[in-house]
């Protein structure tokens, strides 16, 4: 798509230089906002290299690489990061399967109860995390289920389900049905048509849904705090550590997760540009 060019008729046009000045100021403003968004991230990255002596990592005391070599110095932190990754992998696997099925049903078929399903998906996105967490905890307390790894996975599947279903639905709606018809006309069974024709076409939607679910899971704090019991994830550990001082290893792990995220995003952007 080309950039929209707005050409005002001569009678009402302001001097071009003034208009350009407005655009220029707006451009500076956009970069100021972006700088603001990135400021705490820059702080996080830089303070992973801070030669701090005390327990708290707040003031700059010189450059060092030593923390990178002592990443596993805090066993509970390491455990929390591993918990985060395990929860994210398991919940992403579950939610990708059931979310894709849901997205397929909503995008492909017209059925009774479709409106209600859409409404529940909408409610799952719109209801605050605090309410989701609190009500899940009420359920677990009432039926005397011990909170822990399993309840965290249940919660993570719950809050990412809508996002996966909607991402897949968007892809399914965009498909040309005549391609599947052609496959069937050429004698493919429903099963074969799905795996050889439909699934490869919706795969980009499934993959981006899965990535989104993984990212949401790694990041979540509120629902996890309510459903985790004694199990700590990475964000939970950081929150607990703010009382005694956050060690530089937290900054480094944050930086590594950020780097992986950026790499995936850039790869995704470049490969989708090549496709079009």
């Amino acid at each position: 798509m080309s950039a929209p060019t707005v050409s005002a008729p001569q009678t009402t046009a302001r001097p071009a230089s003034r208009r350009r000045l407005g655009d220029r100021l707006l451009w500076i403003y956009v970069w100021l906002i972006l700088a603001w968004l990135f400021l705490p991230i820059a702080v996080m990255i830089v303070f992973g290299f801070n030669d701090t002596q005390s327990k708290s990592n707040v003031t700059w005391q010189g450059f060092t690489l030593k923390w990178w070599g002592r990443l596993d110095e805090h066993p509970q932190l390491t455990e929390a990061v591993i918990n985060s990754l395990q929860v994210a992998v398991v919940s992403t696997l579950i939610v990708t399967v059931i979310g894709t099925l849901l997205g397929l049903a909503l995008g492909r078929y017209k059925f009774r109860g479709q409106g209600a399903t859409n409404l529940v998906l909408f409610a799952a996105i719109a209801s605050p995390e605090l309410v989701m967490g609190a009500s899940l905890l009420s359920l677990f307390i009432s039926v005397a289920v011990q909170t822990g790894f399993v309840t965290v996975v249940i919660a993570h599947v719950l809050f990412s389900l809508s996002f996966v279903a909607i991402t897949v639905r968007a892809r399914v709606v965009g498909l040309d049905p005549s391609i599947e018809e052609a496959a069937r006309d050429l004698g493919a069974s429903t099963w074969v048509t799905f795996w050889r024709v439909t699934f490869p076409m919706i795969l980009p939607g499934v993959v981006s849904g899965a990535l989104l679910a993984f990212a949401l899971s790694i990041d979540d704090f509120v629902i996890t705090e309510f459903t985790s019991g004694a199990v700590h994830t990475f964000p939970l550990w950081i929150m607990g550590a703010t009382r005694n001082g956050v060690p530089p290893q937290v900054n480094i792990i944050g930086t590594l997760i950020f780097a992986v995220g950026v790499a995936i995003a850039v790869f995704n952007a470049v490969s989708s540009r090549r496709r079009t």
């Binding site: 389900l161 990212a215 309510f226 950081i238």
Partner: protein, 283 residues
């Protein structure tokens, strides 16, 4: 068999949503009307007076949460609109790069970003420390533990959720419509206020939904950046559930928060259509 296919497809996801989204709400309502403690157990007493009690007791925090949510949402609209506008109309070929830049901060956990703000704004931290030693600020000046810090943190954390839906709405505005307005002798300002702004309002509405609700129920910003004078309803619920084990109070508070939110959300969705809001949310 063919007619059953969609039902089989939605079965696992639908069950998950029913068991873990809908049923818990019922249990939360039930817990709120119980009495007892963790040692002797809780008994269902259908004590509905608890709703009135907690409302009077925590009125301040309820009102403060709504106030912070409204202020944060208003500031977010003001900050986000020009960004979305510039990316949509002036971003040119780099549009997707700018959007990526807006989204990249999400790869760092929001707890970690808020902790970074706590360090940045600390009384003798990187920003205030040098200004104080240079004599530009009084020694007892502080940002942390103030309303400004909490609302600032809320705006920071939810700003991209305002930029994106506004961008999506503006992106859909056909430039020819603007040209037409100007051909009909609308000034640049007129074309904006009479054509572009009204067309972008659905995006603003979606953004309001996606920022006001989480801001109002947030408790991380208040506990990291605020002090005892800035506690929000989320902090009360979190403490009651996870530290005091006062489940009935916690459940009653979150039930009322949910009721207020759901009424608002569904009134809103009815007026605007869930499809549009969902689409904006999924971007």
């Amino acid at each position: 068999m063919k007619r059953l296919t969609p039902y089989l497809l939605i079965l696992p996801g639908g069950l998950w949503l029913a068991i873990f989204l809908v049923v818990p709400m019922v249990f939360m309502a039930s817990v709120s009307t119980q009495e007892g403690d963790t040692v002797n157990g809780f008994v269902q007493t259908f004590n509905f007076s608890i709703f009135g009690d907690v409302l009077t007791q925590y009125q301040t925090q309820f009102l403060r949460s709504v106030g912070y949510g409204l202020a944060g949402t208003a500031i977010a609209i003001a900050l986000a609109y020009p960004v979305a506008y510039w990316i949509a109309f002036k971003g040119g070929r780099r549009k997707s790069t700018y959007l990526l830049l807006v989204l990249l901060p999400f790869f760092v956990s929001f707890v970690l970003r808020t902790v970074s703000w706590k360090f940045l704004l600390a009384d003798d931290g990187m920003v205030l420390g040098p200004l104080k030693s240079a004599g530009l600020l009084p020694a007892d000046f502080h940002v942390l533990q103030t309303t400004v810090a909490v609302i600032g943190g809320l705006v920071y954390n939810y700003l991209p959720f305002m930029i994106l839906p506004i961008y999506v709405a503006l992106e859909r505005v056909d430039p020819r419509v603007i040209e037409a307005a100007q051909d009909l002798y609308a000034s640049r300002r007129g074309a904006f206020t009479k054509v572009v702004l009204p067309l972008s309002l659905p995006g603003v509405f979606a953004g309001v939904l996606m920022t006001f609700v989480p801001m109002t129920s947030d408790y991380v910003n208040a506990s990291l950046l605020g002090g005892p004078a800035n506690t929000m309803i989320g902090n009360i619920i979190q403490t009651a559930y996870l530290q005091n084990n006062d489940y009935p109070t916690a459940a009653a508070l979150s039930f009322m928060l949910m009721a207020a939110m759901l009424i608002g959300i569904f009134a809103y969705a009815r007026a605007l259509g869930t499809e549009n809001v969902l689409e904006a949310a999924a971007r």
